[in-house]
Symmetry: C2
Subunit: 250 residues, 2 copies
């Protein structure tokens, strides 16, 4: 038996943002593995088994997927957004590296998806149109000191910044500190975009100047993008367009 | 007449990486506008006019697209990858801001796509699985001193780095300097990924330790990704897997 493992990105939520590559992998799958709300997006059908698991069990989930693939199943591990950006691909490869040698020779493939920062950027204009960075604000897996250092260096580099996992109920203080650091390090009133549940019916987007950004504007379903010093607003009827020009215009 | 303008990302090359949203916009378009090789990807059909233009005329192309939309056309501006990442979205919004007031009230929408760094990352594993930055190495639109400053700060922040437009025939020296700076600033032998023409039949990928990276390994069709200090290689038969773990593992 020759199994396979595809680590697939479902995009931010809308079905029209799922690539044909990912859809084809799902159509051929015998088993779909992932976090409960992402597996819930997959329609049931004959011949397909859904394996939904809770958050924070990424390595167990990866091992389970690899075991099934090693036994001949056509497994798809689903992530929201892109699997390579703060999602399941790194977890699966951690499990591969720590696991039995035969897992290295499995047919494993990553199918990219539209990651949240690109969908959020598209929804407001083009705030990531010039150099930028992406930072996971969760301190589950790294010390806060590393996050603070990266925020200050990113501000000094004048990157636009995209923040994943800005705020959870269990550690709301991290995003409070993030905004304090940015107000201190940026020294101007660049725009901050709070983009919640982008591309879904619950999409809600707010754009405020940095000094007016408040921690409670974000939750774990919110993507936060902070413009660089050159990011501009085009005012018009309705929501403004936010974009970062290609040139520094200095 | 009510025209519209969709700024659409075609992804890195493969048709199975074009989102259904982008395909639907193309199916409804009366006019498609873009750089010659990207417009060449769009099949001709009755009722559709293709407007291909050369590189470095992004503002003229944007104005033309906006004028047609203002006159009632259903226009799609096509970019490779994602239009919001070093591509046409920022150029269109620059033209909107500088143009007649009525352009601000046009029906303008950005349809995201799979940007090159995500496709390149997926092709080798998950090198962007932790914090990272994206830098356009072209100095057409910004001074070299800014690029150098950002490279040094990104190295200090220990971001993985994705480089767009690493090298052109007209300015080959920039990427030579980039590698010198990285060898100086990183002080270790993290992996460098050269991913050319990802997802196309010409795809070619090479992974080398930073001290062995050479300028001629990149051209303008190459995406370059430099791992962080924690990026790992999983050796196996065939090409190694390159990934950055979720945790710092310190």
């Amino acid at each position: 038996m020759s199994g396979s493992l595809v680590i697939a990105g479902l995009g931010p939520g809308a079905e029209h943002l799922v690539t044909p590559e990912v859809q084809a992998a799902l159509d051929l799958a015998t088993d779909v593995v992932g976090y409960i709300p992402y597996v819930a997006r997959i329609p049931t059908r004959a011949g397909l088994t859904l394996h939904a698991s809770d958050n924070r069990v990424e390595i167990d989930r990866s091992r389970h997927a690899l075991e099934m693939a090693a036994n001949g199943a056509r497994v798809v591990v689903v992530s929201s957004g892109d699997p390579g950006v703060f999602a399941m691909a790194a977890a699966v490869f951690e499990a591969v590296e720590a696991g039995p040698a035969l897992w290295r020779d499995l047919d494993i493939r990553v199918a990219p998806g539209i990651t949240a920062m690109l969908a959020a950027a598209a929804a407001v204009g083009a705030p990531l149109g010039h150099d930028f960075c992406a930072i996971n604000l969760s301190d589950n897996l790294k010390p806060w000191a590393v996050i603070e250092k990266r925020l200050r260096l990113a501000a000094e580099a004048d990157f636009a910044m995209a923040f994943y996992n800005p705020r959870s109920k269990s550690r709301p203080e991290g995003f409070v500190k993030t905004l304090d650091i940015l107000n201190d390090a940026c020294g101007d009133s660049r725009p901050v975009i709070f983009a919640r549940a982008v591309s879904t019916p619950e999409q809600h987007i707010r754009v405020v100047p940095l000094p007016q950004a408040r921690p409670e504007m974000a939750d774990m379903r919110t993507m936060v993008i902070v413009g660089s010093s050159t990011t501009r607003l085009i005012e018009r009827d309705g929501a403004p367009i936010v974009y970062t020009p290609r040139s520094l215009g200095a």
